[in-house]
Symmetry: D2
Subunit: 335 residues, 4 copies
């Protein structure tokens, strides 16, 4: 039984608390939050104890720390928790600053403690099935990967301001999916973006609609489409052309009902947002973390991979400003 | 908080135990089973107490009884539990004997205690969406209902022998769905059946493949197809033609992945069996029972409706033997 | 080059005239119709000659006769044309009277001339693909066949009056499909029907909504659903459960466009009616007739098979009246 | 009745000859080809006369010229035919040289004769339905357009050598579709490409797999994916995200049959190539040309639009070489 501390008692922390409770090999024992009340409330609900971060890190009885606090605290907490001998599962993105994340990677690596980044989509059963079929060679060699990822509605401009921008905040997931499927980070990134959904997003210097192309040195290509507003729900699809066929993972729909009338055949929309779509993925993610802890195997989404996704985001951010393809250098990947 | 006793600690009892635990308004306090060990094991896992049926029924602290024991005990337990002042949720079918079930209905009605029959499919989100759309008039008046219901693999002949036959054991669900969608029991039943899947089933005097047509006096028709063996999984679909269109509820598939190669476009199969397909339905069913207890509203699947489904099964059993259409009389419905 | 005479210059005759013209091995040389003007008009358009039936049958230069006149003339014309040494393609149904059709079968057989019945659906590329896959054993042994066949809108009561009823006029196609797929006629027929779409149809003693179950002696079952009004178009589907899987042929849709909005995902309806759905099937049917003429092979839909479909219709008509299962005897099949 | 001359009696010329014959308002009277035999053969089959180009252009009885000869002859023939007072339908692309095409545009415009470019995909009923729904405002304002366009198998390297490259030869269709849907040419083009399918294509300096992003000044984006090899058939899809929803046009499949077995649910592939997919589109294209000739309306795909697609191809060709976004200037569009 692994004793777990949760840092961050917000919406995503709550989801993780449920997964920790549902796993027979983990127990949530401590919760910290900058808002003491939030920590106390969740602690009361879960039977855990509200404690300070210092206290948690100093406690040798705690095996692992789940970091679900604000992004600007991630690197610090990864460094401190690994230095304190804890295993870590940290929410994405690693950091808004690639430089800072690289330092955290270096320091955490030095401790030898395992750090997993919460790329929940890898654990979506549909995406995982696609990946498994691809890895078994069912469509031969990968050539052209296309990821569609649309949110249902744009966030408020106040959120956009501190988010690090669409590439670091939203497309970070898709960069990770692309690197995960192909098994390595791309060599070059080319981005096109605009603010057409909400002018307030453009006023913050960000984009709300973007297409990013990733290129590998052996000729493989990936293209990611993002929009902050699909309107009809959460549109999350992957399509991979290989030398012997096409694999796709389609959306999860609200139900299987169809109505055919004179107006046409009406089916259900995709489920509304990430909680509906990825609830099961969060549970599986946590199980995968615990299984890796138990077996000592490499984490199924490493800190280094979290840095790679951030390097893609960094490159895309530059590319969309300059209109030029940007190289993803070994240094950007912490190599 | 309703205190619940569970009678029957087998596979289906286990499912219900989870639903009871997951509902914040119910608590599983007692478990009885003819195999004392089974009751004790489940009691240990759930924090309930293993007790005898007599003991449970005599305990004024128990509000409701969930009957998940073998079918031949249902009528007795419904009568005794309601007489003891308990609300009841009883698994389907009510009984293998329509006559016996009618007596239980009469006695339970006399107590005024609510009895719900566990027609879990009504609570499947897909079927419930279809029903809701139909009730809102989205396809006008119902005219021709078609239900497809195939199990993945036939049961052993030993099970068939005591099952009451395909109509009482398996198609009972579909009879209920038909009556539920149209809002009343049919006037006439016509059945065709054969034993083509497994000769051992035929040797028991049962069929493994059947088509039953139900007719209402106003001209509405329903047709049910059953097979004990689909092979590819659990095939559970509804299709309703109305005066203004067609509503259908399709299967739930294992995932959303598609692979297109030179051999064609390969998608996932339906999920394998009822646990995969209806787990969520069982949870919702229990919630609906508790909500009805709280509000005093009519149960969302009454004992009388359980008797109606059994009357259809009785009629179908006769029809398949005689090659004649069989009337469903008011007496058969307990009217 | 086969010289063809067309008897019947109505809507369906016109379709056949196009198919005859499109085939490089056939030439339409003569057209007869009880309305001389209709024959002359179509003759002018096609370069054929308007002639009397007597004249056509007496002309040794004419190889084959396509009978597309009213149903009550079919048996006579089949007998006369074969007696005159012509090959025949006759529209369905063979006759409204099974007895009359049996006589025609006997007489035509005695001439040794080939007679094909225009069961166009066998030549629909989708249905033909399903049949081919089944015949290759892709789903093992056939067990439960389900045919859905809904017209978009009911015919006028005046048509119903002379149509021979839904079973002979509309379901005749589905009886043929069932016999074609299973490779033989059923042993027993059980029908349920009502007039719920249009009371005027009921007033003529006919049904507009019906479910018919066919049973074979080895346990195979087929069920056919018919409605005179789907409203949304022509609903034509086949679904066949075998010992190793399920084959289905779905509807042909107007287009492949889908619109997803907050209201759901809207796709196209099935194409409107038989001309849209089966135009290609009519062309292939004609080609198949010509190919059989050239090779001397058995016709791909024989007069005997036309009689079998009519025997099913006769049995269904009796069954719906009596509420009893009706046997299809060897005598009814002309055996 | 318009008298038509066809220049180019190859594969695509043959398709057009059929469309001309099928239209009651057009008659194919003359055919020219650099291979006299090809012209004579097709002339014999169609009842037209094999003539020289000079002869055709000098004949005042010929109303319109359909140019289906090799790409390097297009600009010359457009100029000469319009100068001779003929209306023109010219196959895509206008030219391999944007500069040369711009001259042809200028000269043809000066004659005032209508010139249509054979962008057949605009006339595909599925794409046309999508466009019509978008133009009616069914998904609000267009924001992010995605076009997938994969050929089944790569062409031989000998073809690639003279093709002008993937952008001018293959993606030219997709550039046109993007401009057509959005109603104008983009401001900027960014391309990523590689030769991963066939090294022989890379050896010719061309790419076989590419992603191109088009950006409009108001923030609209389009992205086009091309591969020379899908393997499973011709993959031709459009997906358009608007402010109020998503419109898509999916592939046309070989048939509607589905087989569900233990191995999954197998459906048909997309039809194999452009002849199967776009045969109907070619017929409609020709009808649209004739209708525009009759009414005097603007051609439904103008020479100026053909130049715009070529300008996109030119920009993409530069972008893929330089790794930079390339502007599409007014001069490139002939403005």
């Amino acid at each position: 039984m692994f004793k777990i501390a949760l840092i961050g008692a917000g919406r995503i922390g709550l989801i993780h608390a449920k997964s920790i409770a549902a796993n027979k090999d983990s127990q949530l024992v401590a919760i910290a939050d900058v808002f003491a009340e939030a920590a106390q409330k969740l602690a009361a609900e879960t039977g855990a104890e509200a404690r300070s971060v210092d206290d948690i890190l100093a406690d040798p009885g705690i095996d692992a720390v789940l970091i679900a606090s604000s992004t600007d605290t991630h690197s610090d907490l990864i460094e401190r928790a690994t230095a304190a001998g804890k295993a870590v599962l940290c929410e994405k993105p690693v950091d808004l600053s690639l430089e800072r994340a690289l330092t955290a990677l270096q320091k955490a690596d030095a401790t030898g403690k395992p750090v997993m980044i919460g790329f929940n989509r890898r654990f979506d059963p549909n995406f995982a099935s696609l990946k498994a079929a691809f890895d078994k060679g069912e469509i031969g060699k990968g050539e052209l990967l296309a990821i569609t990822s649309f949110d249902p509605a744009p966030p408020p401009a106040s959120y956009v301001k501190v988010s690090g921008g669409l590439f670091r905040d939203m497309m970070i997931h898709d960069f990770d999916i692309a690197c995960w499927i192909y098994g390595s980070a791309p060599a070059r990134v080319t981005a096109t973006g605009s603010s057409i959904v909400d002018p307030a997003i453009g006023a913050e210097g960000d984009v709300d609609t973007a297409v990013v192309t990733l290129a590998w040195d052996d000729g493989r290509i990936a293209v990611i489409k993002n929009s902050r507003r699909a309107g009809y729900g959460y549109d999350q699809r992957i399509e991979l052309l290989g030398s012997e066929g096409l694999l796709s993972a389609q959306n999860v729909l609200e139900n299987t009902v169809q109505k055919i009338t004179n107006a046409g055949a009406l089916s259900a929309k995709p489920v509304y947002f990430f909680l509906e779509r990825y609830m099961r993925a969060y549970e599986i993610e946590w199980t995968a973390f615990i299984e890796a802890l138990k077996s000592g195997a490499t984490m199924p989404a490493t800190l280094r991979e979290g840095v790679a996704a951030l390097a893609c985001a960094e490159a895309a951010t530059q590319s969309v400003k300059t209109g030029q393809t940007v190289a993803v250098t070994p240094a950007m990947l912490g190599a």
